[in-house]
Symmetry: C2
Subunit: 426 residues, 2 copies
Amino acid sequence: MNDDLIARRKRLLGPHVTTFYETPLHLARGEGAWLWDTDGRRYLDCYNNVAHVGHCHPRVVEAIARQAATLNTHTRYVHDTILEYGERLTGHFGHGLSSMVMVCSGSEANDVALRIAQAASGNTGIIGTDNTYHGNTAAVSQLNARKPPVGGYRDHVRQIPAPDNLHPIGGSRAAQEEAFYAATETAISELQASGHGAGALILCPYFANEGFPTLEAGFLDRAVAAVHRAGGLVIADEVQPGFGRIGSHFWGHERLGFAPDIVTLGKPMANGHPVAATVTRPELLETFQNAFRYFNTFGGNPVSAAAALATLKVIEDEGLQENARVTGRHALAGLRDLAARHMAIADVRGAGLFFGVELTEQDGTPATALAARVVNEMRERGVLIHTVGKFDNTLKFRPPCVFSRENADLALETLDAALSSAVATR
Amino acid sequence: MNDDLIARRKRLLGPHVTTFYETPLHLARGEGAWLWDTDGRRYLDCYNNVAHVGHCHPRVVEAIARQAATLNTHTRYVHDTILEYGERLTGHFGHGLSSMVMVCSGSEANDVALRIAQAASGNTGIIGTDNTYHGNTAAVSQLNARKPPVGGYRDHVRQIPAPDNLHPIGGSRAAQEEAFYAATETAISELQASGHGAGALILCPYFANEGFPTLEAGFLDRAVAAVHRAGGLVIADEVQPGFGRIGSHFWGHERLGFAPDIVTLGKPMANGHPVAATVTRPELLETFQNAFRYFNTFGGNPVSAAAALATLKVIEDEGLQENARVTGRHALAGLRDLAARHMAIADVRGAGLFFGVELTEQDGTPATALAARVVNEMRERGVLIHTVGKFDNTLKFRPPCVFSRENADLALETLDAALSSAVATR
């Protein structure tokens, strides 16, 4: 790594564009589940969900290259690809979710979703969890748990406690559903009392940023019903769990078994091409369009639509949801074996190709520093992961969905060694 | 045009995704300044600034295709291309504007710009014009003149009268500068009185959506100074005039001769690939990063950076700013000839490849319906333009910057015929 590169980067992009690792990665090439740095060293990518169907998948690359060479314009003109994509995408949804707005980022998708909820409900109050992230626009970043907005959270935002495996809300795993429901009702009451009303409950149905706690189907049913009773809408942010990653289902909300009014999509949708979408029922979209004038120049352009279409076809044709289910199950079993041998592993959890282990100290407190050491140890050993959760003490594995059984075995072996080394040297 | 396509489009994208023309265009292919529909009919594109260096420019296509096949990830990893691009881009700026945030859309760029201004000034008040558009996020759309926000404009937004050629603010062209300055001072006072303070004056330095009135260098000097005295920042939204389009200068703010604190870029930046940026001084970027946690997954990824870099190189290598200057001057002279023969043309104006004519009725009122007829007549005759301005009575020409003298002549001939026909049949 050239120090000059880091200096140029700081000068151009500012001092706070962090790199994941103590030794930043300078990448040159990607293919499938693998990344290569500029020295030719290979890394197993266990982190990047954006490259959902694998880095530089030839079918997605070819779709982008071909369409970029043919036509790229905007949706004021009629084009077939966005229609073919929209029909194929909404074919993966139930609950009347058959319309969409194509945008450029998950942030834009959630920004639109909040306004759909406002237009439809007439309310501006928003409920999220206390350990969430839904994007970076001024409006959406009001919900972010990690960095409170300048001047504090605004009055229309209510944060409710996120479910958790080791420190369940309500005091026990069995009490979590009741606690989450009660907190939702309290938030609704507060928003109604303050005049905002209940506009939306927005959440990741896998609670990805919350550390993906293990939840039963039906967990959200009473909270969802409460929001609906209050006239609000439920937004499922499927940016992380969506498109088959969780294996058992194509979407996170299917796994929990609830019916969202709006679904937002982002990162993995076009394998890295800047594409995102807000999917909703036609009558909600019309209400939004009547209330807010909205046009997105780049959203749904022919190249973006082609990239998204190719990605979706690869997911279907290569059976990546099934791969996520089978490989994820194998990996989870391996993590359970590791847990039997590593004291620091306090919990093993996940679904499909989105899994991890939570590390604690012997007294049960979060092993945040140890987790950071393991992440860096693994990077040095050629495997890329990161941490998640309120205390950043959960190791997160969220690889491209072409991740194989062999890839999983290598990741597990490396974790075994890295954990031993990190524990030994602390 | 297949009626079924329109029905599918409405069903998927909602009833309010309008098409520009009475007979929607169903496009298949683009090259240079030309577009072809699915029936093989060719159209001269006099409207689409997104395809800044020409539709499907082979160098941009090749850069996208090559990088997409090599590596696409995010800026948490170090990559050379964003650095090479950032240095080349900021080399086109003075005033210490040497840092940037890369994002996916002009809307995101302005959303960030407003927060930079808030972080640096400590103020939340925003001043824009009464006929502007800066994008579609919830925060930025508060400024939009065409569609007031649900519940009305919020108290932190102040709209000041836009300069205008036929109906100058202050009563005369000579009085506009004073009137604009006075309105800025009034807005600042109001924002201070209401506790918001002056955070930002945001404007397109070409006043593109306002109908690009003819303004002298120095027009904004007193208004800019007033905002700075009040502790606020000045944001130049260069999405439309930037990258050499106006011919005489690379940026609109250079032509008016003022020093913005923040510049936002969008549509033409990567010739249609979803790329945008907020450019500012390093100390302002750091202040923003300290106040707001910000990371944009797709922003500045290797493919986006490669697309933007190739576009900038083409602008430089093919001398497109000079082409805009020379071809624009030729076109403007031609429009003046037409004005001598067409009663409906009340004003001819513009700079570089961003020009047009304002149409009025004999009594001087805006000829909005006539302008719409001309737009559709020209589309039928194979030339794509659109309208702009408060009354949509100004015909806007804003072609790809590869637009040639021959293209201009064809556009002028077609306008001549379309105007005659539209006037005769009304």
